[in-house]
């Protein structure tokens, strides 16, 4: 790339040709306020008009997120004209924005509020009509409140990337424009995967995960035996909410905080992950041995399950029948654990701390509820957990490191920890499959072929006298490639890992937001490598574990000896496996149905 000479505020710099003014300014040490631009241009459309600057050679002010630098350009970020224009832009956005900031869940993480302060926005500069509001809380995972939407379009771009086909789009025109699924139906009635990737990019409170605090506090107050379990990816990111550098593992502090929040037991979902490997590896080997449906696809990611059920119903037999790890653990808590402790399963309330919003939906699936008892009662995202900790007045960074409860399901292996990153489930399964087929552990323990953030990773491994072909992918756009191969009959794989969120659970829709403006101490490239840093936190915990293969987890062995029998046993199937069902895409009625007859299940119009 050739370089060009530019000046910012009169100071000369050399920057790459073709990059935007916003990117160039960032490299030169300036942060121009912006709302629509995200991840260095990923979603830039120049739509919010907040990043206006003066640039020579341009007519009037330009949106720096889309305007490229050129030789000899002189950029003025803080000229009176630019400052005033940016202030007006934000004030116009605020004029059509709900002003109940103190009651907004985004309070403290809101980019609009942050930018309003930066530009010095004045109160009620432009008073007038407001666009009619849709408040959609029917989805168990995501709340859409159009009164807070600034029409930046980030969610639309991210949804199409993560989902492949896309659910969210602009609807209508001009002042009536809103963002939503077709005909402004509820997300619950759309083919939304509930992955929460839209939530993770929304600059305001327009798209938020649906909190379940009240159910938890109520369960505690009513004397239930409230148990909490934490997914692997949470420990790699929770620290960010307390100002710790990205990639700081905070397992011990997280456990200490949960104990102080009043949970009777604090367990690691990694136990459930080890159990998943025992069940899933056995299922795979049985399919290979008995000529079952191959390739088999992992089932840990509820976002992916939602996608498969909607768009690839004919491929459902390929998906492992295993429940996801936290659902397995919930099922064991309400059966084996209840039995061992002499507690009525009805009195047990299981909370899962997850990096994921789709898990909120997953726990409500009818297949996950037996005799009116849910496997898991509440799901809390990483962000929501940090809010609970702050609400309780706990100074997280001052906490000592504490250990998970060790009884019954306290042990977990390194194989389970890496479930939280793309390729992790595959690697954990390979460690155990190799042992089963070869009668000895793989040396080295790791299968590094399936690590990394490439769109599709593949490997061919020799074990037990056969070649096992595996593939790993994340993001449904990438998964579609592998799924179409299966449909065409050209898939060469035995086992495929699919995660809904690009990069796996470390980048889940419930994880802390990554924003330049809120991370002043991180390097500029954090946007490109935060997933790697969170993944490294998990791989390093794997390396620190004494036991690193699921089949060597002593408490898992005990669970099979005392209770389940063997992997894929009848009881294991009853408790730990599930079924899938095809479903419609946009549930908006038949072709002859008038729009006006479509039942609108989007709940009312909040003033």
């Amino acid at each position: 790339m050739s370089k060009v000479n530019i000046k910012i505020e009169g100071v000369p710099y050399q920057v790459e040709e073709g990059i935007t003014i916003l990117q160039a300014a960032r490299q030169c040490g300036y942060e121009i306020p912006t709302l629509c631009s995200f991840h260095d241009g990923e979603c830039s459309r120049g739509s919010c008009r907040v990043c206006l600057v003066e640039a020579t050679g341009a007519r009037g002010l330009v949106a720096s997120c889309v305007y490229p630098v050129s030789e000899g350009m002189e950029v003025k970020i803080s000229s009176p004209k630019a400052l005033e224009a940016r202030r007006y832009s934000v004030e116009v956005i605020l004029s059509n924005h709900a002003s109940n900031c103190q009651a907004c869940d985004k309070n403290g993480r809101c980019e609009l509020l942050h930018v309003a302060k930066l530009v010095g926005a004045r109160e009620d500069m432009f008073k007038g009509e407001k666009t009619e509001t849709t408040y959609d809380e029917l989805s168990p995972s995501i709340i859409r409140d159009t009164s807070k939407c600034i029409l930046c379009g980030r969610c639309i771009v991210r949804c199409e990337q993560a989902h492949g086909k896309g659910v969210l789009g602009f609807i209508n025109r001009g002042f009536d424009t809103i963002v939503g699924p077709v005909n402004n139906i509820s997300l619950a009635e759309s083919p939304c995967l509930m992955c929460g990737q839209c939530v993770s990019v929304c600059p305001t409170g327009a798209l938020m995960s649906k909190p379940e605090y009240d159910a938890i506090y109520h369960a505690m107050a009513s004397g239930k035996h409230v148990i909490v379990q934490t997914a692997p990816a949470v420990r790699a990111a929770l620290g960010e909410e307390f100002g710790l550098p990205i990639g700081t593992p905070v397992t011990g502090k997280m456990v200490a905080a949960l104990k102080r929040l009043g949970f009777e037991k604090v367990y690691d979902t990694d136990f459930g992950a080890d159990l998943t490997i025992m069940e899933e590896a056995t299922e795979l080997l049985n399919r290979v041995k008995n000529g079952g449906v191959l390739p088999m696809i992992t089932s840990c990611s509820p976002g992916w399950i939602n996608y498969g059920e909607t768009y690839y119903a004919d491929l459902l037999p390929h998906i492992s029948s295993c429940k996801s790890p936290h659902m397995m653990q919930g099922a064991i808590l309400k059966s084996y654990y209840a039995q061992q402790k002499g507690i009525d399963p009805k009195d047990i309330f299981v909370v899962s701390i997850m990096p994921c919003t789709a898990k909120k939906f997953e726990k409500e699936r009818p297949q996950m509820i037996k005799d009116g008892i849910k496997d898991v009662d509440a799901v809390v995202t990483t962000r929501e957990l940090s809010d609970m900790i702050k609400r309780a007045g706990i100074l997280f960074n001052k906490l000592p490191d504490e250990e998970y409860d060790q009884d019954i399901m306290g042990e977990y292996t390194g194989a389970a920890v890496i479930f939280g990153v793309t390729g992790g489930v595959m690697e954990a399964a390979l460690r155990t499959a190799y042992y089963v087929l070869e009668g000895k552990e793989h040396d080295p323990i790791e299968f590094k072929e399936v690590r990394g953030f490439e769109a599709i990773k593949e490997a061919s491994l020799e074990m037990g006298g056969m070649t096992v072909n595996v593939a790993v992918t994340s993001g449904m756009k990438n998964a579609k490639v592998l799924l179409d191969q299966i449909k065409d009959g050209t898939s060469k794989y035995h086992f495929i890992e699919i995660m809904c969120c690009p990069g796996g659970c470390v980048n889940g829709g419930g994880q802390p937001y990554i924003r330049h403006c809120f991370l002043p101490n991180e390097n500029l490239d954090i946007i490109d490598n935060y997933r790697q840093k969170r993944a490294d936190a998990l791989y390093s915990e794997d390396e620190r574990q004494a036991v690193r293969q699921s089949h060597n987890n002593e408490q898992i062995k005990e669970l099979y000896d005392k209770f389940l029998g063997e992997p894929n046993s009848h009881l294991a199937h009853e408790l730990l496996h599930t079924t899938y069902q095809g479903r419609d895409t946009f549930r908006v009625g038949s072709v002859t149905q008038k729009e006006s007859e479509i039942p609108s299940r989007v709940r009312g119009h909040r003033a």
Binding site: E160, I171, R173, V182, N183, V588, G589, V591
Partner: protein
């Protein structure tokens, strides 16, 4: 998608394929479908998405952006009242209000007998004829409020005839 009958699905595929060589075929495809079927409901938008690879939300965005496209079946006679600047200053608002009052529907709606729909249009480009009204493509120039009843009666008389 499951709700479309085979003939309709085949015809929509044909329309999509006929623009396969175009870089940005969406508006042309939707115009053809609108003209032929009279409306573009979500099922059809999904079919177009399947045949073109353009996402459903993007297609829906275009359908809801342009007043030319409708998601509901239109009446036999589609009355388009121009509300562009020139027509507006020449009293187009009163003309459209009169159509609405006589037919008892709002812009974007269709009468119960399926005979008439009213659309509020942006500029037709026929400013010399302001205020302009189109009915199934036929242009009425310099329409006065007291002419509206007569125009409606004319089409009522034609009624269900082809």
């Amino acid at each position: 998608m499951a709700h479309l009958n085979d003939a309709a699905a085949a015809r929509i595929k044909e329309i999509c394929d006929s623009y396969a060589h175009e870089k940005t075929p969406l508006i042309m495809i939707l115009s053809d479908i609108q003209n032929e079927f009279g409306y573009i409901p979500v099922d059809v938008q999904e079919a177009v998405s399947d045949y073109t690879g353009i996402s459903v939300p993007e297609i829906h965005g275009v359908v809801t952006f342009y007043s030319l496209f409708s998601q509901e079946p239109k009446g036999k006679y589609v009355i388009g009242c121009c509300l562009g600047t020139a027509c507006y200053v020449k009293g187009a608002q009163k003309v459209i209000d009169q159509f609405c009052e006589i037919l008892g529907i709002q812009p974007g709606e269709t009468t119960e007998d399926g005979l008439f729909s009213i659309d509020a249009l942006r500029c037709l480009g026929a400013c010399a004829a302001a205020p302009a009204v189109t009915i199934n493509g036929k242009i009425y120039s310099r329409v006065k409020v007291n002419e509206v009843a007569g125009i409606i009666a004319e089409y009522r008389q034609k009624g269900g005839e082809a």
